[in-house]
């Protein structure tokens, strides 16, 4: 890594020009995804093996290749990881194991062949060779995540080659802070963290607040279970976040910024720290940035991983070193935020979008999205879809287009695997049914339908999911993660959890449904922060769209999806059972009667059975029936 400090904007531009003419940009690249998702599925040894195999190539073979290997951030298609991509050909290998590495190097890198068995296969089972031809990528619009997966997050030069810090140069040389502010206002950028508040308005009210000292904060807390968009951006494109914040600081004439990252994102912390160090060394952060006279620096604040610390006022308390508890926002953070000074807090994705708006203008940004929600939004698609991972689409794309487009449709074929609901907006979002699949995904439509955009979690459920159980799960999560400061959230969500759990156990009464609605209304009206106010959403939305399922639990003591343990029994279909004995071995409570013998069949002792479902999971013949 170079330690050149660029004194002026022209210095930086000259360096980029030199980089381009050096042919660095034209080299072949072997990208190995080292995002958290791929590392979890074993990317680290793959990257290690690739690196070693390439290093061991004899020099005469290596030189003409003109190849460079890069450990990149998340490519998004986490389900198929570890991923290895050969650029510029765009050959896309999935589920790579270390043992595949020699073959990739010898056949694909040296021989220029394509290894068919490692290729991605589309719905019809046909292998797809090209990165861009894969439906997962073809149907996305990558704006905020443009660089994620394409660059080595540890390399400033990589970022510079993808026009990094060009927006900053433009802002510093040709725009006044007021012009930057106006551009953001004109782009109608709305906060990507959950509330969808107009970023331009937030900036404006902070700037007009009293006080010389202001702060900006990047919220990278991202506590929703299953959501990792911000994580991917911070890991894969840390300079993008930093550049966005510098531009924001310039517009707000502020000199101190914080990035709040949770401790559970060690890779994000590592990459951000490195990027901050590199940016400082290059004169892009600190005193007198690129000779412009403007000074700004960023500190990383690490959070302990409390969900509530994603809430802005709790986050600010946490940065101050206090217990992360929200406080009333009757006086806004833009007037009295961090250390009671005017503060602008935006989400990771929002800051990255600022860079794109400065690069390409507000009109370009407004050209995407709907009337009131402009631009794109990244979603983390999880649950029962073929392609779980990160997708970024234009605002206004329908749920169906996301789930059956980049999402690749439902995971399991057949009746049970049919689409049932999608939960948007994280734990305090709502579940939307099949009839709303054609709903446009933007801030206002989702809120109107009883859910919310949230930070962009999207959990797809099929017909084997019990909606009452889903409501119970999220209530349980929120009960645990509530800070416990105010009564409606602490006591109310706990009581809601009791009521819904009772229904799951078949002990509910019809009056419970009225009680849920009555209490939920009080929680929504009475809670202190957004966590409490939106806490009842999962139960209210499931009650709104899946009331019959609640009634089945209460009236018929039946769980239609076969999930709620108290309401189901397992039995063995003797006609299908061939007596292999797999279930016998899997059962931990010795509830299966019989001896493994060809032609014989088993029975389940329902008194002993604890309904764990282990037998059903191992039975190859599908002989275990749930009723």
């Amino acid at each position: 890594m170079q330690a050149t400090s660029y004194q002026t904007v022209d210095d930086l531009r000259a360096h980029v020009g030199k980089l381009r003419s050096s042919g660095e940009a034209d080299r072949r690249r072997l990208l190995c995804c080292c995002g958290t998702g791929c590392i979890a599925s074993g990317a680290a040894p793959v990257a290690e093996a690739l690196h070693k195999a390439l290093a061991e190539l004899p020099a005469d073979k290596r030189a003409p290749l003109n190849l460079v290997m890069k450990r990149t951030g998340c490519h998004g298609l986490c389900q198929k990881g570890p991923l290895v991509v050969l650029m510029p050909e765009g050959t896309f290998y999935t589920s790579v194991k270390p043992k595949d590495v020699p073959e990739i190097v010898s056949r694909s890198v040296l021989g220029g062949e394509v290894i068919e068995r490692l290729l991605y296969r589309d719905a019809s089972g046909k292998p797809v060779q090209k990165y861009s031809a894969i439906d997962f990528y073809a149907k996305q619009t990558r704006v905020a995540m443009r660089n994620v997966g394409q660059i080595d997050p540890a390399s400033l030069d990589d970022y510079l080659l993808r026009d990094g810090y060009q927006a900053l140069c433009k802002v510093l040389t040709t725009m006044t802070p007021e012009q930057v502010m106006q551009t953001v206002e004109k782009a109608k950028l709305r906060g990507r963290g959950g509330g969808g508040f107009d970023a331009g308005r937030k900036w404006r009210s902070c700037k007009s607040a009293k006080g010389e000292l202001r702060y900006i904060i990047c919220n990278g807390d991202e506590g929703d279970p299953g959501a990792f968009m911000d994580c991917s951006i911070m890991e894969g494109d840390p300079h993008g976040v930093i550049e966005g914040m510098i531009i924001g600081a310039y517009a707000l004439e502020c000199h101190e910024g914080y990035i709040y990252v949770r401790q559970e994102y060690p890779l994000a912390v590592k990459h951000l720290q490195r990027a901050l160090g590199d940016a400082r060394a290059a004169g892009l952060l600190g005193e007198n940035i690129l000779g412009s006279g403007f000074s700004f620096d960023i500190t990383i604040a690490r959070g302990g991983g409390a969900f509530v610390c994603g809430e802005s006022s709790a986050l600010m308390r946490s940065v101050e070193g206090k217990v992360g508890e929200p406080r009333a926002k009757y006086v806004h953070a833009t007037d009295k935020g961090l250390w009671d000074r005017p503060t602008v807090l935006n989400n990771v994705e929002t800051w990255v979008n600022v860079v794109r708006i400065m690069e390409r203008g507000a009109d370009w940004f407004c050209g995407m999205g709907t009337e009131r929600s402009k631009g794109t939004k990244a979603f983390s698609l999880t649950g029962k879809v073929k392609h779980t991972g990160i997708v970024e689409v234009e605002m206004g794309t329908t749920l169906r287009q996301i789930i059956f487009g980049p999402g690749g449709g439902m995971l399991v074929e057949g009746e049970g695997g049919r689409f049932k609901a999608v939960q948007t907006g994280g734990p305090s979002g709502g579940c939307l049914p099949e009839s709303l699949l054609d709903l446009s995904v933007d801030f206002d439509s989702l809120t109107k339908a009883g859910s919310m955009m949230g930070s962009g979690g999207m959990i797809v459920m099929d017909h084997r999911t019990c909606m009452v159980d889903v409501a119970r799960y999220f209530l349980h999560f929120l009960t645990d993660e509530s800070c416990g400061k105010c009564v409606p959230c602490r006591e109310g969500l706990w009581q809601l959890d009791r009521i819904v759990s009772r229904i799951c156990e078949g002990k509910g009464a019809e009056a419970d449904l009225d009680k849920i609605e009555d209490l939920s209304k009080a929680i929504e009206l009475g809670s202190l922060c957004a966590l409490g106010k939106s806490g009842p959403t999962p139960v209210l939305s499931t009650l709104r769209y899946f009331r019959d399922e609640y009634l089945a639990h209460i009236k018929d003591h039946r769980c239609p999806a076969g999930v709620c343990k108290a309401l189901i029994t397992y039995s063995i279909d003797k006609a299908l059972c061939d007596g292999c004995g797999a279930c016998l071995a899997a059962c931990a409570s010795s509830a299966i009667l019989g001896t493994p013998k060809k032609g014989d069949s088993f029975e389940i002792n329902t008194l002993k059975c604890d309904r764990c479902g282990a037998c059903a999971a191992v039975c190859k013949r599908g002989a275990i029936a749930i009723s």
Binding site: V323, E481, G484, C486, E491, Q495, G526, L528
Partner: protein
């Protein structure tokens, strides 16, 4: 600057920086509270003081705000007993009654709002809650209003604080052990609206938070003063008092004052009008 605003249809004067609750109280309008106290900053945790707030410029939009935190403003229209307000208040009290069925204060407040028995699951009937919990002789009356921890922070040494999250939240001490910073001042016990925080005073010492403190003994008569040794040292330091301030009990202080007056009367009789410049030494009193 002072201005007027409307509370329950009544014109109320308020001034800049004032909060709705204070303005309402001055106008004699009652708003129930549990977590509010003049000794500490408003906190907004009990949600009982919620009121419905609107302005003409808001075109019919009404918000539910806590009166203890919402700043008074010109043209503000406040309703303290609207249907939505009462809905929240009733539910909050019902929830608190489920949490602390034995609290007399909550019972009374809930009854005032028409809740005579909780409609929720009482906490004590939950076996999961009892497990691992410190066995308490007294019923758990804590409503987690946070007054004790806040008063300890502002008036004393921040020796206690709330610990854990969500429904498991409780008022606690560092690591659940007797708090090392505690000075035994009883501010927490006296501010507690439900009487949850208990202390024992037996003659010459006081026990609170599983710590026993010796009380200051009167230098003259030896009787205990209502302050602990640690508390006297803390207060003398913080308020920059003469350390002798806490040396004598009230009766002995009164007595020594009387003796000073008596001596001055004697001097006057002898024709000595001026007070001696040297400080008067208190007369030794035999216990």
């Amino acid at each position: 600057m002072s201005f007027s605003m409307m509370i329950n249809g009544k014109r109320v004067e308020a001034h800049d920086g004032e909060l709705v609750l204070a303005a309402a109280r001055r106008a004699g309008i009652h708003i129930p509270t549990l977590c509010e106290h003049e000794a500490v900053e408003p906190f907004g945790s009990c949600r009982l003081c919620m009121v419905e707030v609107t302005k003409e410029a808001w075109k019919g939009w009404k918000g539910l705000m806590t009166a203890c935190l919402y700043p008074a403003a010109p043209d503000l229209i406040v309703e303290t007993e609207s249907e939505r307000v009462l809905h929240v208040r009733r539910n909050v009290l019902d929830l608190l009654l489920a949490r602390c069925p034995d609290s007399k204060l909550i019972q009374r407040l809930a009854a005032e709002h028409g809740v005579h028995r909780t409609t929720f699951t009482p906490r004590d009937s939950e076996p999961s809650r009892r497990e691992g919990e410190r066995a308490l002789a007294a019923p758990d009356l804590c409503i987690l209003c946070g007054l004790c921890t806040r008063v300890c922070e502002t008036a004393a040494t921040a020796a206690i604080c709330t610990v854990k999250r969500g429904h498991a939240r409780e008022v606690g001490t560092p690591w659940g052990t007797p708090p090392p910073d505690c000075i035994g001042c009883l501010a927490c016990a006296h501010i507690c609206p439900t009487g949850h925080i208990v202390f024992v005073e037996t003659g010459f010492d006081r026990t609170i938070w599983e710590r026993t403190f010796a009380l200051v003994r009167c230098k003259d008569c030896g009787r205990p003063l209502p302050v602990t040794v640690e508390q006297a040292a803390f207060l003398a330091k913080r308020q920059q008092l003469d350390p002798s301030y806490f040396e004598r009990c009230e009766a002995c202080q009164r007595q020594s004052t009387a003796q000073v007056f008596g001596r001055m009367a004697r001097w006057n009789r002898l024709g000595l009008v001026q007070e001696p410049s040297a400080p008067v030494k208190p007369v030794e009193v035999k216990p």
